[in-house]
């Protein structure tokens, strides 16, 4: 049973919210796709030419007089860097959770899940020009540090994805999995493109793939931004302190707005897929455990299909 976001808001701390999400995920997930540090036996496979001889199970050969090769789940320690956009636009929320709340809760849940698997988890927060970075570490105490950083999160300033990508490239020195939580409303993009589907800032993020990093985008939006459900005349104000405003009747602009928004979503998803990144649309009103479960299930399918796993 998915956890309603309105129930999550009733929990006093981010830590509890994250645990609720994780428990929901674990109850629906048969096996965690994130098993990094311990090298665990997974299965036997009958030997075929080309298999490494060092993985041949000799004991099995002795018992069965046939060659079997051992297969293992993970062979390396995973380093995950959670990057969250804390610009002013992330403060928008039509439901119980703002976009920032939803992103922070999901971040915390992932951190909890990964550290529980002894993986190293770091956190990078971009709020306007400010940057806060917690290096990736493992250990039960480290998750508390992440919780506290996320708990104190407030949205402010403008979003600049290029700067965010530069900072991530600088901080993530070893090969890492980078999970980005943002509405991708890049201030530079908005100013420079009329099409609304510009992906310049996103491309900068996705170029991290060239440094052997794995990038997953959590495109965090509110349902209002997807539907523009307003009927009455309104004076829309910018949330990033740039003085933009628009007085209009939303009904008159709805068709055109939805056209713009859908084009933006399609371009973002297409670009992410093209550059080999994972794309997840996260809406603040959606049950977060379901989002996380969907994400993990997709990861598991990718891993099972021969793709690279985190």
């Amino acid at each position: 049973m998915p956890i309603d976001p309105s129930l999550l808001t009733k929990l006093p701390s981010l830590k509890l919210r994250a645990r609720s999400v994780v428990e929901g995920v674990l109850s629906g997930l048969h096996k965690s796709p994130y098993q990094g540090q311990s090298v665990e036996f997974a299965e036997h496979k009958e030997y075929a030419p080309g298999d490494e001889l060092r993985h041949v199970d000799w004991k099995a050969f002795g018992k069965l007089d046939r060659y079997y090769v051992k297969r293992f789940e993970h062979e390396t320690e995973l380093s995950v860097l959670l990057a969250i956009d804390a610009s002013g636009s992330m403060n928008y929320g039509s439901g119980p959770l703002t976009k920032l709340d939803a992103a922070a809760t999901l971040c915390a849940a992932l951190a909890h899940l990964l550290i529980r698997q002894q993986d190293a988890v770091g956190l990078m927060i971009f709020g306007g020009d400010a940057l806060e970075f917690i290096p990736p570490r493992s250990g039960a105490g480290h998750v508390q540090v992440i919780y506290e950083a996320l708990d104190a999160l407030t949205g402010k300033g403008k979003c600049n994805l290029t700067k965010m990508a530069d900072a991530l490239a600088e901080k993530a020195r070893r090969r890492s999995a980078i999970f980005v939580f943002s509405d991708l409303f890049d201030d530079d993009e908005a100013a420079g493109s009329d099409s609304g589907s510009g992906t310049g800032g996103l491309d900068a993020l996705l170029r991290l793939r060239t440094r052997k990093h794995e990038v997953a985008i959590f495109h965090t939006l509110d349902q209002d931004e997807l539907d523009l459900p307003f009927d009455d005349p309104m004076r829309f104000l910018s949330m990033e302190a740039d003085g933009k405003e628009l007085q209009t009747h939303p009904r008159e602009l709805r068709a055109s707005y939805l056209e713009e928004m859908n084009a933006f979503l399609a371009a973002t998803k297409r670009r992410s897929t093209e550059l080999g990144s994972d794309y997840t649309l996260l809406t603040a009103s959606e049950p977060l455990d379901r989002v996380l479960l969907r994400f993990l299930s997709r990861r598991e399918r990718l891993r099972a299909g021969g793709g690279r796993s985190a």
Partner: protein, 709 residues
């Protein structure tokens, strides 16, 4: 040209046109601030669609504003009026309702008569008039009472309208409008109006005279506004109507006595030909003859029916066709006095074994001819029982009788004075002195001597064609008498007696035929012979009808003819005619076709110089007359008369509304129809309907704009 409104008070609702503007301003004020993360997308959308949005908003604003303006404007019924009309004073209007109650208003359309429809329109119009308008009702009927003074009592006016009834008469609607204008002149209000309830058929309106105008106290005149309450439903084509336009009844001798030929003219007033139209002759409620007639469109056709009456005496009947939109003209009533048989005694004073030389031969042949109502009996002049026998005859004819006995002379005098008829034809056997001696009281003039034409035969030079017995010979027919040759004839004393009238005379001025009234009877003296001894008249074509007409005169059956029917509304004149000399007839009452009894106020006596008249011929049908004869009440069927509708009203073609409006010059004319619509006088579409169409278009445009959005 100025714009005017039928309901200007509704113009206040035109302020509704400001509602879209108010909503626009209100929305600007109440726009609440809303922080929104995706404002850049909104801004881009706005930039991309700004021009189309502005245009759409402008069109939407215009459509809504025009929609809200057009509806109250249309309800206010705008119309253009000429500048003169626009200068007319506003405020209360003296109003007259001129109501056409003519026959054409009885036409049935869609199950309802035009009269009922006009009445409903008038009552409806009366209720919509402002209470400050004084109103009067003008009935267009010819005998209608003068309109009452203008009144504000709507209830009384509605009662007057309810008591109106459609008539069968043709009405002069032009003079009716003038009467309405005169009624309006009594009001001091400067604004005048006439509500004209009519079907606008052509029969009643004469547009060649000036349009009615209202005389103001200062001597000037003003044309009233006309509201045409159009009672006709189908204004494009006249109603299909066939009518019996005339009926001619003539005796037809070839079939026998009391046989008549009915020539029925049927007029088709519709644009479609009528095939096999049944035409029936109904006597005493029974169809006695029937025919079928094809009548081309807008033409007439004649149907001939014949009927032989089994009995003589006054009778009445009707010819009819199948009912159509206007029923009243589908029947044509008539009265007919079928002549009784006349018994004539021919006293032959010069019998001859050779028939054509016999004195009575030609007369007997003329009176016994086929179709004649006279039955002749011949007796010798010396017959012993003549004095007693004459009492059983209607007419006694003395043919070249030498002399009459004393007893016969007395009998003849008593016979004539009692109402009998006597014809004296002279000849070579006549003893003038004996005649003058014995028959002096009966002779119009005394006999003198026989005149013989010297070289050329004498001829008739003067015939009194005004006399009922001789009016038949008017025109060329007179030649059949004027061409007769007379070789000998009696000259008479020059001093005429009173109550005598010379009906024909010779070219020398000597009388040829003289009528003399004696008591209740008549005597005719012919100064020549009725055989070929002195004249060739008996072999002339006019001899037979002459003798039969003279017998009819003497036997008082000459007026036994078909009396021409009256038209509705025309007074019926009663004259003594050939009944003079008989017992005095006093008219007492008349039963109308509606079974109503109308009594004569003064109980008129039918005398020679008195012509009582009956005015209330309001309904087509047979009017039965009763009276007093010799002091006894009795029915007088021979005075019964028929009344029929005027065929002018059968033509239901309408006057063109535009022509009617032109008649009123620049005056504004409004036409109100039974579907509730009220159009102005402008050509083509009325302005209010154009406004409603515009409003509809605005509404459709708004819907399309909203749907597209």
């Amino acid at each position: 040209m100025a714009l005017s409104f039928a309901h200007p008070e509704l113009l206040a609702f035109a302020l509704l046109g400001l509602v879209p503007l108010a909503i626009h301003l209100f929305n600007r004020q109440r726009a609440r601030p809303k922080p929104f993360a995706a404002i850049d997308f909104l801004l881009r959308s706005k930039r991309r669609t700004a021009r189309a949005l502005r245009l759409r908003k402008f069109l939407l604003f215009c459509a809504r504003t025009l929609l809200l303006l057009a509806i109250p404007l249309a309800l206010a019924r705008p119309h253009f009026v000429e500048s003169t009309a626009a200068a007319k004073p506003t405020g209360p209007r003296a109003t007259a309702i001129a109501f056409d109650t003519s026959l054409s208003m009885r036409a049935i359309e869609d199950g309802t008569s035009r009269f009922e429809r006009a009445r409903a329109l008038a009552i409806d119009a009366l209720h919509t008039l402002p209470y400050a308008d004084p109103v009067t009702l003008v009935d267009c009927a010819a005998n209608a009472e003068a309109p009452l003074p203008l009144s504000f009592d709507r209830g009384a006016l509605v009662q007057q309208l309810q008591s109106l009834a459609a008539t069968f008469e043709t009405q002069d609607l032009t003079s009716c409008l003038q009467r309405a204008a005169r009624a309006l002149a009594e009001s001091a209000l400067p604004a005048k109006r006439i509500l004209f309830a009519t079907d606008l058929t052509q029969a009643g309106l004469n547009l060649d005279v000036p349009a009615p105008s209202v005389q103001l106290p200062d001597g000037s005149s003003v044309q009233p506004d006309i509201v045409l309450l159009d009672a006709a439903l189908n204004t494009d084509e006249p109603l299909a109507n066939a009518a019996i336009s005339s009926l001619d009844i003539e005796p037809i001798a070839s079939i026998g006595p009391r046989a008549y030929r009915f020539a029925i003219a049927v007029q088709n007033h519709s644009g479609k030909a009528i095939a096999d139209l049944p035409v029936r002759l109904r006597i005493d409620g029974e169809v006695v003859a029937k025919g079928f007639l094809d009548v081309p469109a807008h033409q007439s056709a004649l149907q001939i029916l014949t009927h032989r009456f089994t009995q003589s005496g006054p009778t009445s009947g009707v010819v009819e066709i199948d009912s159509d939109a206007l029923q009243a003209d589908d029947s044509f009533y008539f009265t007919l006095d079928v002549p009784r048989q006349v018994r004539a005694l021919l006293v032959n004073g010069s019998p001859n074994p050779v028939r054509f030389l016999d004195e009575a031969f030609f007369v007997q042949a003329a009176l016994d001819a086929q179709g004649s109502v006279v039955r002749a009996t011949v007796r010798q002049a010396d017959a012993l029982d003549l004095a007693e026998e004459i009492a059983s005859f209607d007419v006694v004819i003395l043919l070249n009788v030498r002399d009459v006995s004393e007893a016969l002379a007395i009998s003849l005098q008593a016979f004539v004075e009692a109402g009998g008829g006597m014809f004296i034809a002279l000849g070579d056997q006549v003893d003038a002195d004996a005649f003058n001696d014995r028959l002096a009281p009966l002779l119009p003039r005394l006999l003198r001597l026989v005149k013989t034409a010297a070289h050329t035969p004498a001829r008739l030079a003067h015939i009194d064609l005004a006399h009922p017995a001789l009016e038949l010979f008017a025109g060329e027919e007179a030649q059949s008498l004027l061409a007769a040759n007379f070789s000998r004839y009696f000259l008479l004393e020059s001093a005429p007696k009173a109550a005598s009238r010379t009906l024909a005379s010779f070219d020398d001025g000597a009388p040829a035929l003289i009528e003399h009234q004696v008591g209740k009877g008549r005597v005719l003296l012919f100064t020549s012979t009725l055989d070929r001894a002195w004249t060739d008249l008996p072999i002339r074509t006019g001899f037979l009808p002459l003798m039969q007409r003279l017998m009819g005169l003497l036997s008082r059956t000459l007026e036994v003819t078909h009396s021409a029917p009256s038209r509705v509304g025309e007074p019926r004149m009663f004259s003594a005619g050939l009944t003079s000399g008989q017992a005095a007839i006093v008219l007492s009452e008349i039963q109308t076709p509606t079974q109503a009894i109308v009594s004569f106020d003064a109980a008129p006596v039918l005398e020679d110089d008195a012509t009582p008249r009956f005015e209330a011929t309001t309904t087509p049908g047979i009017y039965a007359v009763s009276g007093m004869t010799d002091g006894k009440p009795t029915r007088l069927p021979r005075f019964d008369f028929a009344v029929n509708v005027d065929s002018l009203e059968s033509d239901l073609r309408r006057i063109d509304v535009a022509e009617f409006k032109t008649w009123f010059g620049q005056t504004h004319v409004t036409r109100r129809t039974t579907d509730g619509s009220l159009d102005a006088d402008s050509e083509g579409w009325p302005l209010w309907s154009l406004l409603l169409c515009g409003a509809l278009l605005c509404f459709v445009a708004e819907c399309l704009l909203l749907k597209r959005h």
